[in-house]
Symmetry: C2
Subunit: 349 residues, 2 copies
DNA sequence: GTGAAAGCGCTAACAC
DNA sequence: GTGTTAGCGCTTTCAC
């Protein structure tokens, strides 16, 4: 009774090159040549080998080849994002995948949930699998732990967030510039009392956007003393609460700048529930689906995650092709899209 | 001048176990034991080995271990979805990742864009890398080409779409039941002239949902002759055009059932542009972000991609643990969420 | 054109 | 406790 429950792999064992070679009556190296499309094999031999391989359902084992091959490449890339279940990461991921796929490279993805504990763990899991390169949205305080691996020649590209304690290729949105544009847009529409609703200050992009917001106020000569600032908002609920508190305060803002998607949506819910969505102006950082179908349409500073992913993948691939120029920094521009909420004028002044 | 531009990996070469063993003054097998946390090593030796490993920035090479290890596992899973840049796939992916990660398994993802050409290519890319299992959203007409690999013992779980020409573990939404529920909801609100807007008939879920729609009409004794049916809609634009055509026809429908996300949104755009969004009822299959913030809120039959991914990963992991019961079929229920558009009553009757 | 031998970095099996 | 040997499935090198 071999209906055993032993946890080993079921099914007949997998054929190897040696099996194919024996069946085809050739040497193992000839099979290798055929399977890899190398030259100097007679067409008759190719046919015999192919037939043998097919009849055994033989599939080349890339792992073994990687190990022995001169460059040692696994044709594999590791991608670290905040979560694969999130539109920004998804679009970035897709752009990376497209570039990788064109080169026969497969992509591992790992979600960190913006939890700095998980970053190092995920990086090491990829490194032990000998990925050829790493594209990472970092969250931990310091990336200097990556230096040894970088010296070993593993190319890395930092996306969306600037690395700390180490220099490396970086591809990020123009967070500061985008936030300034958003804020200036509100200023240009006559607002002086503009609230800032932001994400956790631990996150690089949140700090940059906050910086851009205050830069714009400063340039316009707005005293920042009375500006309402609520930070460390990381989900819709907390953003809704924060916005409600502002609306219920003695001097509610006439406009609000929200530094991130979930915060934008949370704020909109609050405005709706107070019936203030047609009277309080809002510009959000980062575009989102259906922002144009809401009433009023949501004015945003859109990022370009597709371009960020494309540029990062291109950088990694260039590095793999031997490019060893100094670390490069690529800033992807943002675009203000006026749809309604950002063009609401202040009621009184 | 060794500032050569040869495409080989830059940096000093990576240390191996042998290097660590030499530096620590022990045998290579002892290093292996330490790096893998195996017992029967004195704590003094452990300390010496760890120190040597750290000073060399040594990282275990899992590839080599996989090759030699008895079970031959790579601790890797391949996931095929329609696109990682799509909320349903993203949520499913995340659920798979969470289950895999808990077992030290890394996940490869590949987007097929519902292009049947790409399915086999992607599967083979994963198989050559010897993934331990495959979770696949199929699109090609026939999956019998997977049979040899299944016999070799690679567990596979089909998600979202039933396989053809082969039997295997399957996790899908209750497409037929959900579509029936949606249609009955509209019938219960007094609609008789309900249009069907559907995706490409090539896609399994589209056929099932269409089936459920007609089942419900049949049960209600509605003659299906005059029912407007427009199919092969795969994006917002085509759905908008289709809905506009219906609205502009001699006898526009009083309600519409849309079989998919993008179709739902496209139809809503059309209704808006004709000012019919408060008078034409709509129920969509599959929920989407902000469906509750639109005006009116969009009534949908929600799927549970998180549960689909979780169940699929659980199935794969059970198989890897030696479960060899016959192929199982898991139907994940759908939920009707009434938000407004589905409760609009017909104007005339 | 073809194949034999060595070896990629590791673990299995077994000896001490 | 620890080390030695063989070998995972393949590619490299080099001989013929």
């Amino acid at each position: 009774m071999s209906q055993s429950s032993k946890p080993a792999r079921a099914g007949r064992s997998r054929p190897t090159m040696r099996h194919v070679a024996t069946l085809a009556g050739v040497g193992i190296k000839t099979v290798s040549r055929v399977m890899n499309g190398e030259p100097n094999v007679s067409s008759a031999t190719i046919a015999r080998v192919m037939e043998a391989a097919q009849s055994l359902d033989y599939q080349l084992d890339e792992r073994a080849g990687n190990l022995r091959r001169a460059d040692g490449r696994t044709r594999t890339l590791g991608l670290l994002v905040s979560s694969v279940d999130n539109p920004f990461s998804g679009t970035l991921h897709r752009a990376v995948e497209d570039a990788a796929q064109a080169r026969g490279i497969a992509v591992f993805a790992s979600s960190l949930d913006d939890d700095s504990q998980r970053e190092k763990v995920a990086v090491n899991a990829f490194l032990r699998r000998r990925v050829d390169g790493l594209i990472l949205t970092t969250i931990s305080e310091d990336q200097s732990y990556l230096a040894p691996e970088m010296r070993h020649g593993t190319p890395m590209v930092f996306v969306d967030r600037e690395p700390v304690g180490i220099s490396g290729d970086t591809v990020i949105s123009d967070n500061r510039g985008g936030a300034m544009t958003a804020t200036e847009h509100l200023l240009n529409h006559g607002h002086h009392r503009i609230a800032y609703l932001g994400d956790r200050r631990e996150i690089y992009t949140a700090r940059e956007r906050r910086g851009g917001f205050f830069d714009a106020l400063g340039r316009a000569g707005i005293p920042t003393g009375g500006i309402p600032v609520i930070e460390d908002l990381h989900n819709e609920e907390s953003a809704t609460k924060a916005m409600l508190a502002l609306l219920d305060s003695a001097t509610p803002p006439t406009a609000v700048f929200t530094s991130q998607n979930l915060v934008t949506i949370g704020a909109i819910r609050a405005l709706r529930s107070r019936g203030a969505h047609h009277t309080t102006a809002l510009v959000g950082f980062d575009d989102f689906q259906l922002s144009d179908l809401l009433e009023p349409g949501v004015t945003v500073v859109a990022q370009d995650p597709q371009e960020i992913g494309r540029a990062a993948a291109e950088r990694i691939i260039d590095r793999l092709d031997g490019d060893n120029c100094p670390a490069r920094r690529c800033i992807v521009p943002t675009t203000l899209i006026a749809r309604g909420t950002g063009e609401i004028l202040p009621l009184i002044n």
